[in-house]
């Protein structure tokens, strides 16, 4: 039986700007079980990174969490003081960002930076912390860690630095690791190495991972479950196989069709999603995808409920209404409490 690690309910985040409120996240609910690897996919402005920051309580003004709650191991984290948050961040929930160049202190040796974290969070002695740092670096695939810990960040390549960041995030043995576009700034061969690392983490039952990315290839390779976001909302959520083989939401389908098919030869015309994402200062009241959806109908001006497509598979689209019950109905009957 899997253990529920994190639950987000109706999360809402807005950024107060001169032109009005940018509603970056508009009612997002999902859960993460212990040990699983969940991908959050979306384009820029879909709200995927803001959702991650909200989980870590890292939303800064002009941003504000205006609604919803987050539960971690049954404890409500909403409204927790910054002091208490500092105990959770790093210890239980850790985060890795896109750019490993700016996340490390350039004038401190890698070893010092790592042992500082390990000593603070785990209370180890200096020697024990150094040993632990070496062990972690070796685990993320850095050769000669004994020599490497005496070097500065500039002596590391981009991929190596990202591995150091992941090693640091893992150093406190978090139960949840949030990685925000961890490979986007890297070359493909380096990306492949980092993805191998995430694949190994997938088999580690002690650490759950939320992988935020815009790259469907990355999701397919690493994740067990996928959440597709658009316009600040979850459009579809499903086990990774369902997302790629049985996508339901027109946005997911459009996203999959707009990338070149594997082995699809050259000059096979791509099928783009026409138009541009919605303006979140003034989002359409109904489905956020209405302006670009090939199936848009009158009904879409009203926001659909989540429909229950199958086990762990839900879609926010009226097209599912005919053949599928809503998630709320299913829940009321207590059949599939998983969604």
């Amino acid at each position: 039986m899997t253990e529920r690690l994190l639950t987000a309910r109706d999360l809402r985040v807005s950024f107060h700007t001169r032109d009005g409120d940018n509603q970056a996240v508009r009612g997002v609910s999902f859960h993460i079980d212990a040990g699983e690897t969940v991908g959050i996919v979306g384009e820029s402005g879909s709200g995927k990174s803001v959702t991650a920051k909200a989980i870590m309580s890292l939303i800064q003004p002009p941003g504000e969490v205006i609604g919803g709650e987050i539960e971690f191991r049954g404890e409500n984290l909403t409204g927790l003081s910054e002091r208490k948050w500092r105990k959770i961040r790093g210890n239980q929930i850790a985060m890795v960002f896109q750019d490993p160049m700016t996340s490390l202190n350039p004038v401190k040796k890698i070893g010092e930076q790592m042992t500082e974290v390990i000593r603070r969070h785990r209370g180890l002695s200096r020697d024990a912390a150094t040993e632990e740092a070496i062990r972690l670096l070796r685990e993320v695939g850095i050769p000669e860690p004994e020599r490497r810990i005496r070097q500065y960040p500039h002596e590391f390549s981009g991929g190596m630095r990202q591995r150091v960041m992941i090693a640091m995030a893992l150093s406190c043995q978090p139960e949840l690791l949030i990685a925000d576009e961890p490979t986007t700034a890297l070359d493909v061969t380096i990306q492949a190495q980092i993805l191998e690392l995430f694949k190994r983490l997938k088999d580690n039952p002690d650490t759950a991972v939320i992988l935020i990315t815009h790259d469907l290839g990355v999701v397919a390779q690493v994740c067990t479950r996928v959440i597709v976001m658009y316009g600040g909302m979850i459009m579809e959520e499903a086990p990774v196989e369902d997302i790629f083989y049985r996508p339901q939401h027109p946005y997911t389908i459009g996203l999959l069709r707009s990338v070149p098919k594997r082995g699809g030869g050259t000059r096979e015309r791509l099928v783009p999603i026409e138009g541009t994402p919605p303006d979140l200062l003034d989002p359409p009241p109904g489905c956020p995808f209405i302006t670009r959806c090939p199936h848009a109908m009158d009904k879409c001006k009203e926001l659909p409920p989540m429909f229950h497509i199958g086990p762990g598979h839900r879609s926010l689209c009226w097209l599912a209404e005919k053949d599928h019950p809503t998630v709320a109905d299913v829940k009321a009957e207590g059949e599939d409490a998983d969604v």
């Binding site: 384009e43 380096i190 290839g217 459009g254 990338v259 594997r262 541009t276």
Partner: protein, 303 residues
Amino acid sequence: MSEGAERKVLVDVRNLKKHFSKSKDLWGRTTEVLKAVDGVSFQIRRGETFGLVGESGSGKSTVGRCLLRLYDYTDGEVRFDGQDLTKLGEKQLKPFRRRIQSIFQDPYSSLNPGMNVLELIGEPMNIHGLYPGDERKEAVATLLERVGLKREHLYRYPHEFSGGQRQRISIARALSVRPDFVVCDEPISALDVSVQAQVVNMLEDLQSEFGLTYLFVAHDLSMVRHISDRIGVMYRGRLVEVADSDELYDNPLHPYTKALLSAIPVPDPHAVSERIAWTGETADSEAHALREASPGHFVALPE
């Protein structure tokens, strides 16, 4: 590619080298040289798309910039439509500057924020003395509609557009002087996935409509395969393999190409990925010249 083989060569790059001085001593003498491009030769035929792939630092963008003569190259030759550009001064280059245009990665920094769309697209026309007077506005508006924007957008400024729309403006600007050859340096990598396909389709349409020839520089290997007729793989300033795109992906010969292709994350959870590691030894120890392994397929490996 049988018909392509008969097409005329438009761009002929021969043993191109571009070295940068990495550090200088007290007297300003170069002590360390960075060989960004170190002996690259390839040909692009009229009407085709030549893809250039490689990782950061491989020199692919530097090749593009050399073809645009944004850099003076250290050694080698670039022939455009039979004319050696190497020997031309800025004044003699001007007609070629019209015929060779560029689109860059970042549509946020490549458009002057203080100019409206009419001025942005009209500027190259002005420089090259095309469409004088009243004709210009009409020509710009037509072009704007051709790239999927509207006549109303003429007096708007770059900040009023999304990334995809800005890239459309960049494309219109490049096409405003009726070029023959366009260097596209990572033209879609800053765009969202759903918008990338729009821009790629448009580039393909414009190519067949205006008979354009493209150099498509990118690191997104699946998109490069999609758009290119032929592809060159760069590694540390050299071409290690050149082939028709399907041939390159189906039958890569160089170990680096194999490693690069095996690293692409395939958007299919069932795909069995077997990553081929690349140690870099082969290319480090000896740099080989390209040789034709099979018709049209060149690789830098010993026989």
